[in-house]
Structure formats: C-alpha cells, structure tokens
C-alpha cells in the first residue's frame, strides 16, 4: 500500500494512459481517436516529468541565491520536445481528417470501412 502512495504520480499517469488507449481503441470517430492519442501522449509526458521531480519542486534554475535539490532538467527538455512533436502530429492528423471527411463523406472508421 505504501508503494502505491509513494508512486501515486506514476500510477495516475498509467491510469490516464489507459483511458487514452481505451478511447483510441473503442471510439470509431477519427477525431476522438486523435484526442485519445493526445491524452496518451500527455500521460507519457506526465510520467517523464514525474521521473525527474524532487519533493520540494525547485525548478532547475541556477542563480546566485538558488538552493537545491533541483528537479532534473533533462526530463523537462525531453517533454518540451515531446509537446512540440505531439502538436505537429495532431495538426497533420486533423488536416488529414478534414480531407477524409471531404473526400469520403464521413470520419467514422466503421462507416468508412463499408464505403470501400
């Protein structure tokens, strides 16, 4: 039980990840799937940020009067990169969905399957 409490951040990230996966697997609407993908991505980001945190939450800013222990800067840099990659993928996906809607008349995957 103690482990569950100390690792509660990780477990919450896992829970969010799984809900995102559920949306991605079950929902047939392409836009909803992309929303699920975004939720999964943020869950992974939350996981990585959690890995680099310290209990007192001091940001990794070195200044004359800054005292540690600092949060690890590396995960923050990774997540920043990840966020920008995620928004790129989302934008491309949305553009493609709009195109599918225009050309196929639907964005529900099960209906699109019948069209083919």
């Amino acid at each position: 039980m103690n482990v569950l409490l100390t690792h509660v951040d990780y477990i919450a990230a896992v829970a969010i990840f799984l809900v995102g996966l559920y949306i991605l697997l079950v929902k047939q609407n392409l836009l909803k799937k992309i929303l699920g993908l975004n939720i999964m991505e943020t869950a992974v980001f939350a996981f990585i940020v959690t890995a680099g945190m310290t209990d007192n939450g001091v940001p990794p800013l070195l200044g004359p009067d800054a005292v540690g222990p600092f949060a690890s800067p590396l995960p923050h840099a990774l997540v920043l990169t990840g966020i920008v990659v995620a928004v790129s993928i989302t934008a491309l996906a949305l553009a493609l969905i709009v195109r599918v809607k225009r050309e196929c008349g639907s964005v529900e995957l099960n209906e699109l399957g019948k069209v083919e």
């Binding site: 969010i16 909803k32 943020t42 945190m53 949305l94 969905i97 209906e111």
Partner: protein, 82 residues
C-alpha cells in the same frame, strides 16, 4: 500528509475525471473543451513539480493551440460523434 500532497492528489483526481469525461461525452466540442481544461490542470501540476518551462508550453500548446486546431477541424466535420 501535507497540504502539498493533498494538492497533488486533488489535481490527479481532477485529471482522471477529465479524461473519463472525454471518454464518455458524445459531443466532440465538449470533449475538446474538457481536453483544454485537462491540459490546464496538467500545467498546474507541472508548475508545482518544478517544471515551469514545461508548464508554460503545455498551457500555450495544450490548452491553446491544440484546442483551437481541434475546434477548427470540428467546424468542418461536424460536432456529433456517432
């Protein structure tokens, strides 16, 4: 259990509520609004975790730009999920 821990647990509960809401609602515009709220709460969590840079980016990207992009797409494909 300190105040800080309670704050954390509250935020985590809020996040999970948001994503469950996104999974449940059939209206895409509501789902995206919930996603924007979720991003904003997440950004609070990260600011609290000592990651101000990430929090700032998440606020602008997740709650701002991603949500706007989704809304723009919804305007074209309709807001009802079947």
């Amino acid at each position: 259990m300190s105040v800080s821990d309670l704050f954390d647990l509250l935020i985590l509960a809020l996040l999970i509520t948001c994503v469950l809401g996104i999974a449940r609602v059939r209206d895409l515009a509501t789902a995206v609004t919930l996603f924007a709220i979720y991003s904003f709460v997440l950004c609070l969590l990260w600011a609290h975790r000592g990651a101000p840079d990430v929090a700032m980016t998440e606020a602008a990207v997740g709650a701002g730009i991603t949500a706007v992009l989704f809304f723009t797409a919804i305007a074209k494909i309709g807001r009802r999920e079947k």
